[in-house]
């Protein structure tokens, strides 16, 4: 029964997931942990992994294989393999909701759309032009509007007349917001406008990769109710936010790690993961 760890070294946080696979059964998550990322990916990775190991009540030596993903994936010395966060996200999202065909991942700077088939990446697109379509956009606006980030999603749900934001630049969008504010537009309507424009940009990426009728939404911004509704209304699709979605990449990495591990040491064929 091999234990495999997946570690997602993101720019903000580092997350670790440990899975166990029994023969002829789905791999199951036995531990999760996270730690603040810093200059030293190695340190952050071992911190995250430690808390995951504690959560799973096992020792590092028990791990058969370690797969890393995310921005700092090359910085982890004790890894067996590194995989990009896009490949991991697809695999992880598929595990969390097996019917997933399209994945949307909105991070602080990067927004990614991934078309997947049984957890395999078929096509993907990132916002390579400008960061206006990223989470940073919301953070800035929230700061300017003096609204705590965690309330943004809720507030925008109460919008009555959403105000469109058209600027291509995350920073210049603020001067549009200033315009709205000075015209006396309510904070709710502005926030909803921001969510709408974000949804539109995400929609463009999703259409590039070919959007199915449902989208699995992961990443930090997915926590905001407002953008979820905006996506549903703008794109006319069902948007699912799996719980524990912030661990999706780490999970995917662990599953792919397990896959490689079983391929290398041809142990008894594992369950649905293979």
């Amino acid at each position: 029964m091999p234990l495999v760890a997946g570690i997602d070294c993101g720019t903000g946080f580092t997350k670790a997931v440990i899975i166990a696979s029994e023969p002829h059964a789905t791999a199951r998550i036995v531990g999760r942990g996270r730690a603040k990322s810093g200059v030293d990916s190695n340190l952050a990775a071992s911190n995250a992994l430690r808390s995951a190991l504690q959560h799973a009540c096992i020792a590092h030596e028990d791990l058969a294989y370690v797969a890393t993903t995310g921005f700092g994936r090359y910085g982890v010395s004790f890894r067996d393999i590194q995989i990009t966060e896009i490949t991991s996200a697809a695999r992880g999202a598929h595990f969390l909701c097996p019917e997933t065909k399209t994945i949307l991942d909105i991070g602080s700077q990067t927004t990614r759309a991934v078309a997947s088939d049984h957890g395999k990446v078929k096509a993907f697109k990132s916002n390579d032009k400008c960061a206006a379509g990223s989470g940073m956009f919301i953070t800035r606006a929230a700061k300017y509007l003096e609204v705590p980030l965690e309330q943004v999603g809720e507030l925008s749900l109460h919008a009555t007349r959403p105000q469109p934001i058209s600027s291509i630049c995350a920073v210049l969008a603020e001067s549009e917001i200033i315009n709205h504010v000075s015209l006396g537009v309510s904070v709710e309507d502005i926030l909803r406008g921001i969510h709408d424009s974000l949804a539109e940009r995400a929609g463009m990426l999703l259409k590039r990769v070919g959007m199915g009728d449902s989208v699995t939404f992961i990443g930090g911004v997915a926590q905001q109710a407002g953008i979820v509704r905006a996506l549903q209304e703008k794109l006319k699709v069902k948007v699912t936010v799996p719980d524990g979605c912030e661990y999706a990449c780490a999970l995917g990495a662990s599953l792919l790690g397990l896959h490689r591990y079983s391929a290398v040491h041809s142990v008894t064929k594992v369950g649905t993961v293979a």
């Binding site: 990223s134 940073m136 504010v181 000075s182």
Partner: protein
């Protein structure tokens, strides 16, 4: 004796000054508040702060000119001017002899070529994207986890500044993080960041004639590292007035003084004399 006010409602901060004309011209009060979500309120707060600071009744202020992006939202303002005109006016007044103004604000970078009488001869501003503006620095500081006031001095200690390709205020994060991951020193990264903006700003400024004296205005002028970087790339010295941050408001107050009916020549010739004294 006449008293006027200039209120500069910027994207992040609102600045106000009171100007008194009594034989000479004197700034008798300054105030600085965060603009925040309510522009009218911010302008009002800044203005009242000035008055109480100077110990005068707001009604004694004969004329108020608003400037900056929120200028049309100043309920008590008598008229508006763009910050371009105001920065030119203010710089020429506070730093006599100024021929070129470089202003780095929150989301606008501008270069202004100023005439003998503080009039705008020519000006350029950053294009549709906020690349290379003051916000770029704020963001870099945030990513590095260093306070905005520290990054300037720190950048001065750079020995081998890194190369920053993007000037996108948001994407610069991934560049910085890559360098952090490569184990580059904070000062070298910041040095690179400051150089990148200096180059961007000057390539903008070169669209107008950059003639000495070059005066830097706006909030970023307080960042010694930025001034140094600009001087290095420009290859000549840049002067930073005491009230660089308030330059827009000062200019507005000066226009207010003119509007108040004080004869135009005096300021004109004052400027001219000041200039001739300098040269």
């Amino acid at each position: 004796m006449r008293i006027t006010a200039g209120v500069d409602v910027g994207s992040t901060q609102t600045k106000a000054v009171l100007l008194r004309e009594n034989g000479d011209m004197k700034i008798i009060a300054r105030a600085l508040v965060d603009t925040g979500a309510n522009v009218q309120k911010a302008a009002d707060r800044a203005f009242r702060a000035c008055c109480s600071d100077a110990g005068i009744d707001p009604r004694e202020v004969g004329y108020v000119v608003g400037t900056g992006y929120g200028r049309y939202n100043i309920s008590f303002g008598h008229s508006q001017m763009t910050e371009i005109s105001c920065h030119a006016k203010g710089a020429r007044f506070l730093c006599p002899g100024t021929r070129t103004v470089i202003d780095m604000g929150g989301q606008d970078a501008k270069a202004i070529s100023v005439g003998e009488n503080g009039e705008v001869l020519d000006f350029v501003m950053n294009d549709k994207c906020a690349a290379g503006t003051g916000r770029f620095l704020a963001n870099a500081a945030e990513v590095m986890g260093i306070s905005l006031d520290e990054i300037g001095p720190l950048s001065l200690q750079a020995t081998r500044p890194v190369k920053i390709a993007t000037v996108c205020t948001v994407f610069v994060e991934s560049d910085i993080l890559s360098y952090v991951a490569q184990g580059k020193k904070a000062e070298d990264i910041l040095g690179g960041v400051h150089l990148a903006i200096a180059k961007r700003t000057l390539s903008l400024a070169r669209r107008v004639n950059i003639e000495a004296v070059v005066t830097m205005t706006g909030g970023v002028a307080r960042n010694t590292g930025m001034v140094k970087a600009l001087e290095t790339v420009l290859g000549s010295s840049i002067q930073v007035g005491a009230d660089a941050h308030f330059m827009g408001a000062v200019g507005a107050a000066l226009f207010a003084m003119e509007k108040l009916g004080q004869s135009f020549e005096s300021t004109v010739w004052e400027g001219a004399h000041a200039a001739s004294r300098r040269d």
